[in-house]
């Protein structure tokens, strides 16, 4: 086994301890829970429309996902465009 693999193994203890602490903390305190309105509310949506256009290519990246992937983080607000004509 190489030095690299050995060093990685040494992190097992602290990582395991931290993971267990947080998992149990959340199980008891449930601080991560809230109303899941995205799926628990009756939403009727018309078919989603949109556009897709290729703008470039990435070659030889080592990242498995796009940088800043937020497709599942519905509640993370991004730059909001406000229209002045909004009557409400």
């Amino acid at each position: 086994m190489s030095d690299d693999g050995g060093l990685w193994l040494l992190a097992l203890g602290p990582a395991g301890a931290t993971a267990l602490y947080w998992a149990l903390y959340r199980y008891y305190r449930n601080t991560d829970k809230s109303h899941a309105f995205e799926r628990e509310t009756t939403v009727e949506a018309k078919p989603v429309t949109g556009s897709d256009s290729k703008v470039g290519e990435v070659k030889g990246t080592r990242e498995t996902r796009i940088r800043g992937d937020n497709v599942r983080e519905y509640r993370k607000r991004v730059n909001r465009i406000r229209n002045d004509t909004d009557s409400s």
Binding site: M1, S2, G5, L9, L10, L12, G13, P14, G16, A17, T18, L20, Y21, L24, Y25, Y28, R29, N30, T31, K33, S34, H35, F37, E38, R39, E40, T41, T42, V43, E44, A45, V48, T49, G50, S51, D52, S53, K54, V55, G56, E57, V58, G60, R62, R65, I66, R67, G68, D69, N70, V71, R72, Y74, R75, R77, V78, N79, R80, I81, S88
Partner: protein, 434 residues
């Protein structure tokens, strides 16, 4: 200078608060003579309010429709009201049908506010007094925490039924279905699964029989909105490895796309806390997120307001107006939109980074409701006043959620023990392989 300290007299001329207020919608000038832009503004529709005030309950006495007695309770486990005197049972009208709340959400325009959800008057008092029509005594109800009282002279039961401007009277109420025994059993079960690392004092003082029934104030919102999101997505085109042995590294090639999505959608009965204290979900200082988690309720079954449903049950008063809740609504609508468009981005197997989002709210309808919650609380002493832990049971669906205080040193010890054990294995593997 005897009058040096007397305050100046309040304005009393025309246009002052001393004037008799004009009828809503009336305007002193003939609107046809005004320039087009001003006229348009004046003639634009006012926020529509659905009138949910019940005329027959005006005097504060809820009478049995059969015998006229005022001792009316909710029949446990049902939405029925029962007269304690003649045992007559009847059902409150469901607001869903009565006011057509389930229909026409996609046609909603502007802001429609039911009469119980109107803005709270700044000078309104939470103490209300009634003159008992039975004996003439004064009966006071503190609407901060209760909506009914009994005249201690003639034993008439009073309920706050008029839609007073202090926000205490909602449009509708959803009666309790889960009985106390059921709620106690659920809390016991919930805590039973969280014993090992629970605070010792919490376990010692655990008495789920102390659970209380509370009506919490909510705004139930229907909305009609459109949202646009834009960002970049990547599709993997190639995956390859370079190097050999331990230096093997995986590389990816991908096509980058500019992605835009648009969705028109309606939401039906989205609940929002209309008590500003309950709406504050800061888990560092409170556990209100527990009460938030047991949402939603079957708000379709809510019945028209009748204070008899609240006999013996405490209630919290609404203190937020529609405009104060609007940012939270828009935030939730954007989240819903983002969830809706996710399925259409499945071809982007390396994910999508949304960068811009836009929301157009075409119309909303606001109805205020009291929703039933069984609440068990435990105060954990500590710095900054400690922490109030809640265990909440949804009074309709029985959904249970709670915050169990932790015995910190026990949990730390367990984590360190497991960590040490894992480290031991790691060292053993290293030692045996070298």
């Amino acid at each position: 200078m005897s009058n040096a300290n007397t305050p100046p007299a309040p304005p009393a001329g025309p246009g002052s608060p001393r004037d008799v207020p004009p009828l809503p919608g009336s305007f002193p000038i003939d609107q046809a003579t005004l320039p087009e832009p001003i006229r348009e503004e004046l003639l634009a529709p006012d926020p529509v309010a659905i009138d949910t005030a019940a005329a027959e309950l005006k005097d504060g006495l809820n009478r049995c429709p059969k015998c006229g007695a005022t001792d009316i309770r909710q029949k446990p486990g049902s939405d029925l009201l029962i007269c304690q005197y003649c045992r007559n049972e009847w059902h409150g009208a469901r607001v869903e049908e009565e006011f057509g709340l389930g229909q026409g959400i996609d046609q909603l325009k502007g802001t429609v506010i039911a009469s119980g959800a109107r803005d709270i008057a700044a000078d309104s008092a939470s103490l209300m007094s009634f003159k008992c029509t039975g004996c003439g005594a004064e009966v006071t109800v503190n609407t901060e925490s209760a909506m009914t009282a009994r005249c201690h002279w003639c034993r008439h039961v009073f309920g706050v039924n008029e839609q007073v401007p202090n926000g205490a009277v909602p449009d509708a109420v959803l009666p309790f279905h889960i009985s106390k025994d059921d709620a106690v059993a659920r809390i016991r079960q919930f805590v039973g699964k969280r014993q090992l690392f629970a605070l010792k004092a919490f376990k010692e003082q655990f008495t789920p029989e102390n659970v209380v029934a509370v009506y919490m104030p909510y705004m139930i919102v229907d909305g009609n909105a459109s949202a646009d999101v834009a960002g970049q997505g990547e599709i993997k085109t190639r995956e390859y490895t370079q190097g050999s042995g331990d230096n093997k590294k995986t590389y990816y090639d991908a096509d980058v796309y500019q992605v835009g999505r648009h969705v028109d959608f309606t939401v039906d009965d989205l609940p929002l806390e209309s008590s500003s204290e309950r709406g504050n979900l800061d888990t560092r200082v409170n556990t209100n997120n527990i009460i938030n988690t047991i949402l939603p309720f079957d708000t379709k079954n809510a019945v028209k307001w009748n204070a008899s449903y609240l006999v013996g049950i405490t209630s919290e008063k609404r203190d937020s107006d529609v405009e104060q809740l609007r940012p939270r609504l828009e935030d939730q609508l954007l989240s819903i939109a983002r969830a809706q468009v996710q399925a259409s981005t499945s071809r982007y197997d390396r994910g999508v980074r949304w960068e811009h989002e836009r929301l157009d709210v075409h119309g909303t309808r606001w109805v205020s409701m009291y929703l039933p919650v069984w609440l068990y609380s435990y105060h954990q002493p500590g710095s900054n006043g400690g922490m109030l832990h809640y265990i909440a049971v949804n009074g309709r669906t029985g959904e249970t959620m709670g915050s169990v205080p932790i015995q910190q040193w026990k949990l730390l010890m367990a984590a360190i023990t497991v960590g040490t054990f894992l480290e031991g294995i790691a060292l053993w593997i290293l030692g045996s392989s070298s």
